[in-house]
């Protein structure tokens, strides 16, 4: 391929992934959680480690690792169950549901791994609930995406690195 063709291919991937993320964010913000789960591969690993404050020689060990406690450690079944719970009408902390805006940015396409594409993105999520409850969440997502005929991409692996050491509001019924 010519350099021009490589650049065009990268731009196409970037455009396609960015559109996919916007669609995903819209599903979450419009409470279309079943459609959102539909973007997950059957073998999805959805993981959010815990960050803590470290100093000195411990700098670099801020995140818990696999096998240690995490905020999320979910698969397709448990994500689907979380969504089913929200649909019962008796998930009281989300009744009425919160209002969110997922802003996804800084999309960087990384190395390909077989048919998987590595993508790094950053998020800012605003949530308003009931009268004056409000939260802002920021962080980074590291995804592995697989091309898919129906939804363009499926999320095969998502690591969510939240910036917060202490979550400042309630417990969370939202997705990242």
């Amino acid at each position: 391929m010519s350099l021009d063709a490589i650049a065009r291919s990268e731009m196409e991937t970037w455009f396609s992934v960015s559109q996919f993320y916007s669609c995903e964010a819209r599903y979450l913000d419009e409470l279309e959680f079943e459609k959102w789960v539909g973007l997950m591969a059957e073998d999805i690993r959805y993981w959010m480690p815990i960050v803590s404050n470290r100093i000195g020689r411990e700098v670099g060990n801020e995140l818990t690792v696999r096998g240690e406690l995490a905020h999320f450690e979910d698969d397709h079944e448990s994500l689907s169950n979380r969504v089913r719970r929200l649909a019962t009408g008796r998930a009281w902390a989300e009744t009425p549901p919160g209002r969110t805006n997922h802003l996804i940015s800084n999309v960087e396409i990384g190395e390909a791994e077989g048919d998987l594409v590595n993508v790094r993105s950053q998020f800012l999520i605003y949530r308003s609930h009931l009268e004056t409850d409000q939260e802002i969440f920021s962080g980074t997502r590291l995804d592995k995406l697989r091309p898919d005929e129906a939804t363009n991409w499926k999320i095969v692996d998502r690591t969510i690195i939240l910036d917060h050491a202490v979550l400042t509001q309630k417990s969370l019924g939202i997705f990242f």
Binding site: E58, L69, R84, T88, L167
Partner: protein, 440 residues
């Protein structure tokens, strides 16, 4: 109105004979300030587990009330706990949540302390302090007493506090059902869930002490969506079992199994193989009552430690002002548990409890709502009701089983909450000890 005298009375705020509580105790800033002094600076508070400090010079940072403390394993292995506060201007000398260090240096002027609390370095001690600053008298403020019960580290800032064993009383014996059911005891997995809740700290403690009543309503959505976590053997409303009050404000709820088969019948499907593996050892170590009949579910140890036994979950509720609480939630496993079982416990725990737990979300919402209702003037005049089963305690607990200790009631009974607020009033009232009759 809160009596501002030297020894104000609090029993009128918690009329336990009628099962009524004045909601001011959840919203009055003066009462909160007194709690910091009378409860959080006097009671034994949970700091962490030995498995979080396996090596010399390991440390963890936590809180006792609103006071930040550092817990250290010193050279030689001794565990200490110190106020995380430089003796010069009061800044924190440790800004990490955990790590491994021999010394802690204040980022302001560089006063440096050993992990045994000794002040070791004061920049300019000769030139600007003229060697007149008494280094020995300016170490980090140590807790008055520190001890552990089977790996669980507790400390108190009250030098007159009763011994930890005495403070825990019969609760220690019952805690063995988690801490000593297998050889080697338990360990904490790395990582802590931490989150802020706009609720008074007593609501979650109350909930874990004895509220088995809220489950079917509050957690219905989680149960029917695949996040099980309660036994299947139902009898009447709720489940067969008991609320057991171990005294001094400590209490727990447990299901009851007649025999080994019922232990397995009540087990969560994913834990069944492990239950079968560990049961003979547990029964041999703890006997029939603790090793078979009682399957504990929830508990609180006064003032702010709670546990969900079956989920491998322990937590502390740090007060953050009268209307805010910081929950810290850990996952624990038997040290002998296989890697596969550890994975199952961890995933079970985090999908239900802590920051993103499918159960926790609805609990937290309840405590926030309860706190809000204690703010309005009119609502605050309406007493809170804790009367469930008030005249229906079991008269002779030994009739259930000769080894039974403490006061006992049916599984759906607010006995543990009444005991919790009774202990609260006792601590708030004056200069008495945390255990009635102990050395004052």
């Amino acid at each position: 109105m809160l009596d501002q005298g030297k020894n104000p009375h609090f029993d009128h705020l918690v009329a336990l004979g009628k099962g009524e509580i004045n909601r001011a105790i959840f919203s009055d800033p003066d009462i909160y300030q007194r709690e910091l002094k009378q409860i959080f600076a006097k009671c034994w508070l949970f700091l962490g587990h030995m498995s979080q400090l396996p090596k010399e010079n390991d440390f963890i940072a936590t809180y006792m009330g609103e006071d930040p403390v550092i817990v250290t394993r010193q050279p030689g292995g001794k565990i200490g706990a110190f106020l995380n506060m430089c003796r010069h201007r009061g800044n924190r000398v440790c800004r990490a949540d955990s790590g491994n260090q021999r010394t802690f240096s204040c980022p302001f002027h560089g006063w440096t302390y050993g992990n045994n609390g000794e002040l070791k370095v004061v920049p300019g001690h000769r030139q600007v302090y003229h060697e007149e600053l008494d280094m020995e008298a300016h170490g980090l403020i140590a807790v008055a007493r520190i001890d552990d019960y089977k790996g669980m580290i507790f400390a108190t800032f009250d030098k007159n506090a009763p011994a930890l064993d005495e403070y825990l009383g019969d609760m220690a014996w019952y805690l063995d059902m988690a801490l000593d059911r297998r050889e080697g005891g338990i360990e904490f997995l790395a990582g802590v869930h931490k989150w802020r809740i706009k609720c008074n700290w007593k609501f979650p403690v109350d909930n874990f002490a004895g509220d088995s009543y809220h489950g079917p309503v509050s957690h219905g959505s989680a149960w029917e969506s695949g996040f099980e976590g309660m036994p299947r053997r139902k009898k009447g409303y709720g489940y067969e079992g008991f609320q057991i009050n171990a005294g001094n404000g400590h209490g727990f709820g447990a299901r009851w199994a007649e025999n080994e088969e019922q232990v397995y019948e009540m087990a969560l499907p994913e834990f069944l193989d492990y239950e079968k593996e560990r049961f003979p050892e547990t029964r041999a170590r703890l006997g029939d009552l603790r090793g078979m009949h009682l399957s504990p579910m929830h508990c609180s140890i006064f003032p702010n430690f709670s546990m969900l036994w079956q989920s491998g979950n322990m937590r502390v509720w740090h007060p953050r002002g009268v209307g805010e609480t910081e929950g810290w939630s850990w996952c624990f496993v038997d040290q002998k548990a296989s890697p596969e079982h550890r994975d199952l416990v961890r995933i079970h725990d985090l999908q239900r409890h802590g920051t993103l737990g499918t159960w926790e979300q609805d609990d937290v919402d309840n405590w926030v709502q309860s706190t809000m209702s204690s703010r309005g003037y009119v609502g605050r005049q309406v007493l809170q009701n804790l009367s469930m089963g008030i005249n229906h305690e079991i008269e002779d607990p030994k009739s259930i089983h000769p080894d039974m200790r403490g006061r006992v009631a049916g599984f759906q009974n607010e006995i543990n909450q009444r005991s919790l607020y009774g202990q609260w009033a006792r601590m708030m009232e004056g200069d008495g000890p945390a255990v009635p009759g102990a050395n004052a």
